[in-house]
Symmetry: C2
Subunit: 187 residues, 2 copies
C-alpha cells in the first residue's frame, strides 16, 4: 500500500522537498502553520501540496512513518530478546522518553490514535499491534493478567501523547506508565 505506482521524477522531487521542509519545521516546534504558506515555504504550489498530502495528518503521518516503524521494530526486537513482560516495560519506558524529546511524534500519534478510520490510522494500528503482541506474550508467560485488552493501554498512551509537551509532563507520563505496568502485573 506504500508503493502503488512509480511516480514521476519531478513529482518525487517535490514530495521530498515537502517532507524535508515539514521535518525541519516540526523539529523546530512549528506545527500549526498555515497550510498554504507551508507550500510556499517548501517552494511548491498549493495544488502540488494538496495532491501529495490531502490533509495535515497525511503529511504528519508521512513525516513520522519511518520513525514509528523504527519504534515498532525496536519493540519486536525487545520481544525476541526479553521475557515479554520485561520487554513491554522497557518498550513503554523508552516510548515515553522518545515522545518527550520528539513533540511532533507525540502530536502525530495523538491524532492518529484518535482517528481510527482510514488509511491514516495505519501507523497507529501498527503500534497497537506491537503492544498487543507484547501483552499476549506476557499473558502466556503468566506475568501479565489476561483480563485487560490493548485498548486500555492505548488509551493511557493516548493521554500521554495529548498531554505531552506541557511543562512537567515528563514526570507525570512516567507515573502513568508505572501505573499501567504495575496494574498489568498478574497478582
Amino acid at each position: 500500500m506504500t508503493t502503488g505506482k512509480p511516480l514521476r521524477a519531478d513529482a518525487r522531487r517535490n514530495r521530498d522537498a515537502l517532507l524535508a521542509k515539514a521535518r525541519e519545521l516540526f523539529a523546530g516546534g512549528c506545527f500549526d502553520m498555515r497550510f498554504d504558506d507551508f507550500a510556499k515555504l517548501a517552494g511548491v504550489g498549493t495544488g502540488t501540496l494538496y495532491r501529495h498530502f490531502p490533509t495535515r495528518e497525511a503529511l504528519a503521518e508521512a513525516v513520522y512513518r519511518e520513525e514509528l516503524t523504527a519504534m515498532c521494530a525496536h519493540g519486536r526486537e525487545l520481544q525476541a530478546t526479553l521475557p515479554a513482560a520485561d520487554a513491554l516495560a522497557v518498550f513503554l519506558r523508552g516510548f515515553v522518553t522518545h515522545l518527550d524529546t520528539h513533540q511532533g511524534l507525540a502530536r502525530t500519534l495523538a491524532t492518529l490514535m484518535a482517528s481510527r478510520t482510514g488509511t491514516l490510522a495505519e501507523g497507529g494500528r501498527e503500534l497497537g499491534q506491537v503492544i498487543a503482541d507484547l501483552l499476549a506474550g506476557g499473558v502466556q508467560e503468566g506475568a501479565i493478567r489476561d483480563d485487560i485488552g490493548v485498548g486500555a493501554v492505548m488509551m493511557a498512551l493516548q493521554g500521554i501523547c495529548v498531554a505531552c509537551g506541557e511543562p512537567g509532563s515528563r514526570a507525570d507520563a512516567d507515573g502513568t506508565i508505572t501505573l499501567v505496568l504495575d496494574g498489568l502485573r498478574h497478582r
Copy 2:
C-alpha cells in the same frame, strides 16, 4: 470571578437562551455546528453570541460547569463517607460511566484539560483538586502508594476523555481505570 457585574435583564435572557440551546444540542450529540448558525438557532445575533461566549470552549465550559461542579461535590461526599481508596475507586468508576453517556462532557473535559492556561481550565483544575485530595487521603491511610502524583492519573483520564465515543471505548475505559486503581494500590 463568576460574578463581576449585575448584567442587564435582556443580556441575561439572551445568555440563558444560548446556554439552553447549547445544552439541547450537546445532549443531541451535535457538537461541531457552525457557530454562526448556532446563534440564529438560539434566536440571537452573531454579535451577541460572541459577546457572551468568545469561543466554543467558553460556551462548552459554561454549559458543563454545573455538571462538573456536581461531580466534584459527589467526589468530596464520597471522601467523607468511605475510606479514601474506596472513594477514589467509586469516583473514577462513576466518572467513566458518566462520560460514557455524556459525550459532551467528555469532549469538554478533553479540551479543558489540554489547555492548562486561562480561566477556561478552571473546571479542569477543580476536578484535579478533588482527585488529588482523594489520592492524598489514600496515601495517609496507607492504601495508596505515595510515589505517584495526580498528574499521572489525570493523564490517563485525559486519554479516556479523548478516546471516549469510539465504539467499544467503554470497555477499554473501564480497563484503563482498573489499571490505574490496581497500579495505585500500595504493595
